[in-house]
Symmetry: C2
Subunit: 501 residues, 2 copies
């Protein structure tokens, strides 16, 4: 029996090292914390946001988090393995309330005692305000029984929800918003099919971002790619579904706002054919491109929501896949690889893509001009309420004159027609985003530009697009996007089910 009696006293120096760690943690003394964690690639530190492997990642995490919450140690339990190893389990009491637990394996190294593995738990907040603005059990109950019985919806904070305000990701907008007397048509349809509303989920401000890094409420967690961004603008809905806090993430997709978080978080997502699904009760961003969409953890539920929200398809199944190496090459190699894999049996075609930068630019110009037309009158005296990224986008939008917008609109129309012709009655397979989820430090504007050159295609054509989750060689989520002809949404969903079974 190698049981560990409590009376086995801790090895020399361990107690001092434990308390030195506690002091360093409370002081956010980064050099001391780095020293008290064992060097090398096998050191572990895990918490609710995920497991970090290796001293360097742990050190980088500490460098950005701005310290741990104030706490005191209530109890310690030491399990001594030998003179050089001991497990220390501590019960903590947080100054803000509640209790946590810290489990550490300590080892004596040449430089003294160091932690080789740590597992931290702190009490959960009432709600994760990075993900949600309001949640309930439920917030709104179903209004009937139906095919969505038992499902729960995270509603992007652009949709009217009866009894609640629309916040659009901006506190000043929320403060001036009225209480909605009824829910958006799509929300009512989901409730009528048996689903409940779990809550109102965070969005990037006015949905004008693909990152999810809302300056006011923070970036929702990405459980499938810890410490990487969530993707947006349907950011809260996506994280809620990833975490199992809701089963359906309702959102919108103007330039990729469903497809990008689906790709970054390993979810299924659909952007519906432009105009096919009611946007009544949804705050617009750019009406030429705005489309209803939703996210789920499995293809069957994605399709089941489609059965509720989409009209029956007039056409038959879609099976004929086409893939364009020149488009895949716009993504990072790890992402292109998963697209190539899914598109294995597809027809490979070379499209004339020299106009793509012009198309993408025209998309963004028209989107911006329309966005300013929608929000400009209100925003013009409130630009300082916006985060820097979204503010920059709206400020640039304000400078676009009608002539430039008109020219962009003509390019958009031509491009949309051309894309429709190229795809025809087939399904285009391409990356949902240009990369896996970036870390917050990466140049997000460059990532956005690269991704929009891919996502703009469905937007320009007003075409339905489904993102199917795959995993890169590094184990990170990446989406493969299927784009079909206008109105073929249900057929595309059926194909997604087939490809995922």
């Amino acid at each position: 029996m190698s049981q560990l009696p409590p009376e086995k006293s801790p090895p020399d120096g361990l107690v001092e090292a434990f308390w030195e760690y506690e002091r360093a943690l409370m002081d956010n003394d980064l050099p001391a914390l780095d020293r008290l964690f064992a060097p090398g690639p096998t050191t572990l530190r895990g918490d609710a946001d995920g497991l970090l492997v290796g001293h360097d990642l742990i050190s980088a995490f500490r460098g950005t988090r701005g310290g741990a919450p104030a706490r005191r140690i209530l109890q310690t339990h030491v399990q001594v393995v030998d003179a050089e190893h001991a497990l220390v389990v501590a019960v903590t009491e947080l100054e803000r309330g509640g209790r946590g637990q810290q489990t550490q394996l300590w080892a004596r190294t040449a430089d003294g005692w160091a932690v080789t593995a740590a597992h931290e738990s702190v009490p959960a907040p009432a709600l994760d305000t990075r993900i949600w603005r309001v949640v309930g059990d439920p917030l709104l109950p179903p209004t009937a029984r139906g095919v969505l019985d038992g499902e729960s919806v995270a509603v992007k904070d652009l949709y009217a929800v009866a009894g609640q305000r629309v916040g659009a990701g901006n506190p000043a907008w929320l403060a001036e918003a009225h209480v909605e007397p009824r829910s958006a048509t799509v929300v009512e349809a989901l409730l009528d099919a048996g689903a409940s509303v779990r809550g109102i989920a965070r969005t990037d401000e006015f949905a004008y971002s693909l990152a999810g890094t809302n300056a006011h409420t923070g970036t929702p967690p990405n459980p499938r790619a810890p410490h990487r961004i969530s993707g947006g603008s349907t950011s809260g809905s996506a994280s809620a579904v990833s975490l199992g806090q809701a089963t359906i993430g309702l959102g919108t997709d103007t330039g990729g706002s469903i497809r990008v978080p689906a790709s970054y978080q390993g979810l299924y997502g659909i952007r519906t054919t432009h105009g096919l699904v009611s946007t009544y009760g949804v705050l617009p961003l750019a009406r030429s491109f705005d489309a209803v969409g939703w996210l789920t953890r499995d293809a069957a539920l994605l399709a089941r929501v489609g059965d509720v929200l989409l009209p029956p398809s007039a056409a038959g199944p879609v099976h004929d896949l086409v893939t364009v190496p020149g488009l895949n090459a716009l993504a990072q190699p790890d992402v292109a690889a998963v697209v190539d894999e899914l598109a294995g049996g597809a027809t490979r075609e070379s499209w004339e893509l020299s106009a793509l930068p012009i198309w993408s630019s025209a998309f963004q110009v028209l989107q911006a001009w329309e966005a300013w037309r929608e929000r400009g009158p209100w925003l013009t005296t409130r630009l300082d309420t916006l985060g820097a990224d979204v503010r920059g986008r709206f400020e640039a939008a304000a400078l676009i004159d009608d002539e430039r917008a008109g020219a962009a609109a003509r390019v958009v129309d031509d491009a949309g027609r051309r894309i429709g012709e190229l795809i025809g009655d087939r399904v285009l397979v391409l990356p949902s985003a240009s990369s896996v989820a970036p870390t917050p430090g990466e140049g997000l504007q460059a990532v956005r530009d690269a991704t929009m050159s891919l996502t703009c295609l469905a937007g320009l054509g007003g075409l339905p697009a489904v993102s199917i989750p795959r995993t890169t060689a590094d184990g990170l989520p990446a989406g493969v996007c299927l784009v079909a002809a206008s109105g073929r949404d249900r057929d595309l969903l059926a194909l997604a089910v087939e490809l995922s079974s």
Copy 2:
């Protein structure tokens, strides 16, 4: 350097034991789980609800929880200490979504490999539905700035909250409730003093319990006394404050519904003088006894809320403490001991207490008769919507005729007068509850009866009562109750601050 390179392969049999544990966990194979956790008093298992110490407690916990959530192992990291010890850190992916972490220290024993310490984390739900029905960031913002700036309120689900329904802890009641056009007077006063409403917190059904064990939504956690009951009926508000999910727990106290959860969870709590604070917008239980109350983690905030909700005191400070050994003897010895300690300098008096059982019984009879008058017309066809404990209480209440109620009312009036005379202008120090928080298995009706013989005193006299948290010799929370003359609420709060500094 005793670093642990990844290539150090796991000792013989460890991998098999790890997977056998995983199988046993998913199958809820209790004998196998018991075998795979090391025997003895030092074995540890911790999760968000607290740390369990000792094989027996861990085994008992497993016996009642009904299995772990379905999951798969995504990654494992093994740190081998020696041939007989290794740490295994696993990243789990839950079938319902999200990722968790499991950290285990394994030791080779005479009976094979066994876990000596485990730390489990699973993804948090959108909201803890044992504590909350609805939460927001905030649910209602402040309407002005004031002395409660930055404070957040957990509102017991008996108070009107603008835009929300009153659920009263009963799903059938909630389903028929209307949306409240405005908040209860007390809620409006808190908002007007700078506080926000964090959410609507669970209550025992119609507040007719002291346990917090709502049959529909479960028992809120008690972080200060893990795996023990929360106390009620202001159960959700108390847990929210304990956990730091709100700073003010708003509730009601008819027969102890503030004092008991305060005592069980180590919080400060006040039951105000009957009728002193507006109950407009609060669902009544028994109007002769119902009083507004609130809970906090510190005495200063308890008093600050009093500054907002209470009229100025006409009298001066209260200092003259009196304690009655015959009352203290009604509590368990561990609780009586903390009362004696706080009452060290108090006058010790022997009161003639032979009528106490009659008083307590009269209190309960009149409470029941009034409760049935309030809820009977609605409940009479809906008794089957109640949990067994509350149903039994209402069924008994339905049988009380007016004659018996009238006799009880006369006893209540006499007792109230007598208690007021006994206390006079002094402060009675007594136990807030008869015991520390019981475990769910203990006979809760007997605990209720014992506690009500203490709590009924303030109720009978309509007197203000403040519960001050102390810790028993076993490290569990227990409240010391201070009861003063009618209207001396603010003076009592000042005394609580003084005694706690």
